[in-house]
């Protein structure tokens, strides 16, 4: 009962000084807003990525050369994954079902005066089964295309639309870095991933892309692999490790110059990155909440001084120390929570707006726990920074407080 009464008094005090209250809580508003906004964006991103990776399945494995310039073991060396590596893996790794080289390049795709910024991937005929991404119309790349280094391409929906290849894109010509390619198929729609439109893709035989891009492409080659079953993924990783250590002539005790990632590991790497983004933001938010808290403490001290007489009167009519302490503490927490609630709204808009502003970004997602967390933090800040002013108020001597002018 006394609690509710105090809450009522607190709201009255806060609303009778609207401007002051808002200014005081700006730190809290920004702090809480930042938490909610960033969590919204990060959650949206990680939700999308995990959806995407689950789409390719638990059998998905990627192999790439170690390109860590900070690692003295590998700096200055030209480490590559080669087609010979791929052939050895195909031959000896029994847990591997399919394998494709991936030669990935970003660039423009031209067609009759139009151009569009997309990316090209050079692959073999197994790519659809590994990436879980199939042809919708026409055909995919065949063994003959690869052996004959045919100038053919399978393109995504966005390219069809942006290069105005409809109504029948099959047989049309597109140009990649001066090389005309004939469209033989259209890939099914895939959507966004990592902020990139997956339908701006142009897929060509890896032999053709080696021919077009030459030396650079060989360096950037990676292997995408499908294990025979999700259970076989670990075994496949072991077998590939063994084979690559042999083909790369790595001595015992020396580190691998390549990396093999299973779908799970990719997921955990992604969440690690997102986790550190969240951590950095949390630190910024911590500082902002600290500043907000000092603001609250400041205004509560002012409030205590302004209301010295009121405190004296309350004590004269029978308020105990703890009644006054509670009153001012509740006021500080209420102030802080009001800031927190405004902050949640602000953060929500920030997250939604931010996600909309960045092109090809997934929709923001505000989980309830983030709102709960942000508000709890606001309440804790209120208690922490409210306790001193409240204590000061409760310790006032009634006579001096009553006499205060």
């Amino acid at each position: 009962m006394i609690f509710l009464e105090n809450f009522r008094v607190a709201l009255k005090a806060i609303f009778s000084n609207k401007m002051r209250s808002i200014l005081t809580t700006i730190g809290i508003i920004i702090g809480v807003g930042a938490v909610v906004g960033v969590v919204a964006i990060v959650q949206g991103l990680s939700y999308m990525i995990s959806q995407e990776l689950q789409g390719v399945g638990a059998t998905y494995i990627i192999v790439f050369a170690e390109h860590d310039p900070n690692n003295p073991d590998f700096s200055g060396k030209d480490i590559r994954i080669t087609m010979e590596d791929a052939k050895e893996i195909e031959k000896y790794a029994s847990a591997v079902e399919f394998l494709t080289p991936i030669i990935w390049r970003a660039g423009y795709i031209h067609s009759s005066g139009r151009k569009w910024s997309g990316f090209y991937i050079g692959v073999n005929d197994y790519y659809p089964y590994i990436a879980n991404h199939y042809v919708e119309k026409g055909r995919f790349i065949t063994k003959e295309d690869i052996e004959g280094r045919k100038k053919v391409a399978v393109i995504g929906r966005t390219l069809v639309k942006e290069l105005k290849l409809d109504p029948d894109p099959i047989g049309k010509e597109v140009v990649v870095e001066g090389n005309p390619l004939t469209v033989v198929g259209i890939m099914e729609k895939k959507g966004q991933m990592f902020g990139q439109d997956q339908d701006s893709v142009l897929i060509l035989p890896y032999t053709t892309s080696q021919m077009i891009f030459g030396e650079i492409s060989a360096r950037q080659m990676r292997l995408d692999i499908k294990a025979k079953s999700p259970e076989a993924a670990e075994l496949a990783k072991e077998q590939i490790t063994e084979i690559l250590r042999r083909t790369h002539k790595i001595k015992e005790g020396q580190p691998n110059d390549f990396r093999i990632m299973l779908q799970e590991e990719i997921l955990s790497t992604v969440s690690k990155i997102l986790g550190s983004i969240t951590l950095v933001v949390a630190a910024v938010v911590g500082i902002s909440l600290l500043v907000g808290g000092v603001g609250i403490m400041n205004i509560m001290l002012v409030s205590v001084t302004e209301r010295t007489k009121e405190i004296g009167l309350r004590k004269a009519v029978g308020a105990r120390k703890k009644d006054i302490l509670l009153q001012f503490l509740i006021e500080a927490v209420t102030l802080s929570l009001v800031g927190g609630i405004i902050g949640v709204g602000f953060g929500f808009l920030l997250g939604m707006g931010g996600a909309k502003l960045i092109p090809n970004f997934p929709e923001a997602h505000v989980p309830l726990w983030a709102v709960g967390l942000a508000l709890s933090f606001a309440a804790i800040v209120g208690i922490f920074f409210g306790i001193y002013p409240a204590y000061k108020a409760s310790s006032l001597h009634p006579i001096e407080a009553l006499r205060y002018e």
């Binding site: 009962m1 009255k12 009519v317 029978g318 308020a319 105990r320 009634p398 009553l402």
Partner: protein
Amino acid sequence: MEVEVILMEEIHKVYRTGSTEVNALNGINLNVIEGEFLAIMGPSGSGKSTLMNIIGCLDVPSRGKYFLKGKEIEKMGDEELAFIRNKEIGFVFQNFNLLARTDALSNVELPLVYSRVPKKERKTRAYEALKKVGIEGRAKHMPSELSGGEQQRVAIARALVTNPSIILADEPTGNLDTKSSEDIMSIFDKLNEEGNTIILVTHEPDIAKHAKRLIKLRDGKIIEDSSK
């Protein structure tokens, strides 16, 4: 049977400001019986405010014994004093001391909030108290919408609402014009007739003459104690 509300024996109060000691009260002996109407007078510095604070349990004496309704006050801690103030004392101040932004009724309710009286009962009792001082029509008005005399009536209602043993009024007419002062004093007269014990601190003889017993202070001592 006469009930002794206040019994004071050799009350001393010493204030220390830096290295100098000020003897505000120098051995006060006083007893007050239920239903009395007492005026305490004296020039400034005579110790009447200090005496008032001690009677009101806002402060404790440095030496001596003070019994309020048989309870020994000088040994009490902050919490007990707050409890006694809530139950036994009704304060009326010179400058009314109403909470701004809070209507008359809620102002009167305030002491009941601290004695944990349920809301409904609080409202009823506060309204009754406002009725006693004849201002129930202004229950929903804010202090800023009331005249000085009306504000002081609300303050008296607040002092009455807990049915205290003593109503303690410190210069209650000090901020009022003559007409309002007369009104306020007639309320005190009426309350006293109804059996309330009233202690009035004032330096105005016109006001003091409403009381039935007059105590004059000088240099922390009672120099006169006369009854009408």
